[in-house]
Amino acid sequence: MTPDALNRLVAQLAKLPGIGEKTAQRLAFHVLRAPAEYARGLSAALLDVVDHVSLCPKCFSLCDKAHPQCGFCSDTRRDDKLLCVVEGIADELALERTREFKGRYHVLHGVLSPLEGVGPDQLRIRELLTRLQDTDVEEVILATNPDVEGEATALYLTRLLKPMGIKVTRLAQGIPMGGDLEFADQATLARALSARRDI
């Protein structure tokens, strides 16, 4: 008979994505064995995330509740004329790691998914259109994934944005750095060929 408190912790941990019953049990025992400060720090960090992190009302990235806007939106050094539309926050962070992009972001929080029944109303598309009416954005970069759903989202957004007179671009697709032509699929190779460039 394990104590109720431990069972409750295992049950809560097992609700996390990618965590099964066994892993949850292992994590719970780790917390139990660690110094009490670790558990207090962990619980405080969990509560802090819930209490102090929200979505930026402008770009829908993560934002500290104490601030009116996120770090990307409040940074005056960024280029207001360039807006990059991404599926999720992980994609935004991946682009940021390149240190190449200095414009603004807009997070859709998903992609159009006909098979899952996700339509435009479930994404932050209306907010994007409202935002574009009030800004000096000259170019929108569609950085959704190059899969069927990402392409559908990009095409749908293009249909909405082109009539607004905004330049719409799509991330290039092709062979990854350090990649191997032999193992590239035909769609990727075909795209790489059609988007070849002068050197």
């Binding site: 006909p114 699929d185 035909q186």
Partner: protein, 244 residues
């Protein structure tokens, strides 16, 4: 453990855990199968772009316990990647994949449906399939799945159809005015729509006009939802983005 090599079309795929994916395939020889693709999300090299919905593959499957297979390998035969240049074509392709997935049962071969699907994806990819071709695919898919709606004569008495006719999904087709009382939930259908759908069922390649097409799709959607027990998600998507 049974090993199987088969031609397959990817009907849908969902992420599983951090690295894996569960794929629903329509195989020519084994019908609809669900396969576990270990490491499909982590390794871009292993299944490089092969598990996208609508991709035509040669797959190597290994039977596991229960109804699922393990996907050991997938060689791309055709990606139909030019489908992705147009939102209408993507939407129609995904709708057909969802319809096919829902019309099939696991491990029941449907070689004709496989061929219809492949042919329709090819046409879409070459931008040679208009909105009427979608209705043709729906009718073909329903027929090979055993749900052919009847437009040739009255579903109830077998008599000749005349106006005002009614369409009742639960009766399996159109009924004549004399049988109208027996289909209280029947929906009005014009003889023009009836004739156009009947002609399509019999191989006509004549494109429908916009209003006939729209009414045909409306009625077929109700017919499909009735027989599947639910409305397809991609139908709602298509209406949300303003496509037929």
């Amino acid at each position: 453990m049974e090993r199987l090599k088969a031609e397959a079309v990817v009907l849908s795929s969902v992420d599983y855990g951090d690295t894996d994916r569960i794929v629903t395939l329509l195989t020519r020889s084994k019908g609809r199968v669900t396969a576990f693709a270990a490491g499909a999300r982590k390794s871009k090299r292993r299944f490089a772009g092969a598990l996208e919905p609508g991709t035509y593959l040669n797959v190597q499957l290994v039977e596991r316990r229960g109804d699922t297979f393990r996907l050991d390998g997938a060689d791309i035969r055709e990606t139909f990647h030019s489908l992705r240049d147009d939102l209408a074509r993507i939407s129609r392709a995904l709708y057909c994949l969802e319809l096919t997935r829902e019309l099939c049962r696991d491990h029941e071969p449907h070689p004709e449906l496989f061929d219809h699907l492949l042919r329709y994806l090819e046409l879409l990819s070459k931008a040679a399939a208009g909105p009427t071709s979608l209705i043709k695919f729906e009718l073909d898919a329903l027929e090979v799945a055993g749900f052919r709606p009847r437009f040739s004569s009255c579903t109830l008495c077998g008599g000749e159809l005349e106006a005002p006719a009614k369409f009742d999904p639960s009766a399996g087709g159109v009924s004549c005015p004399h049988c109208a009382a027996r289909v209280p939930h029947g929906l009005p259908i014009s003889l023009e729509v009836v004739q156009a759908l009947y002609a399509l069922q019999n191989g006509s390649k004549q494109p429908m006009n916009a209003s006939t097409r729209s009414r045909s799709r409306e009625l077929l959607n109700l017919f499909i939802a009735h027989h599947l027990g639910r409305r397809l998600k991609s139908v709602d998507f298509m209406s949300q983005v303003g496509l037929d």
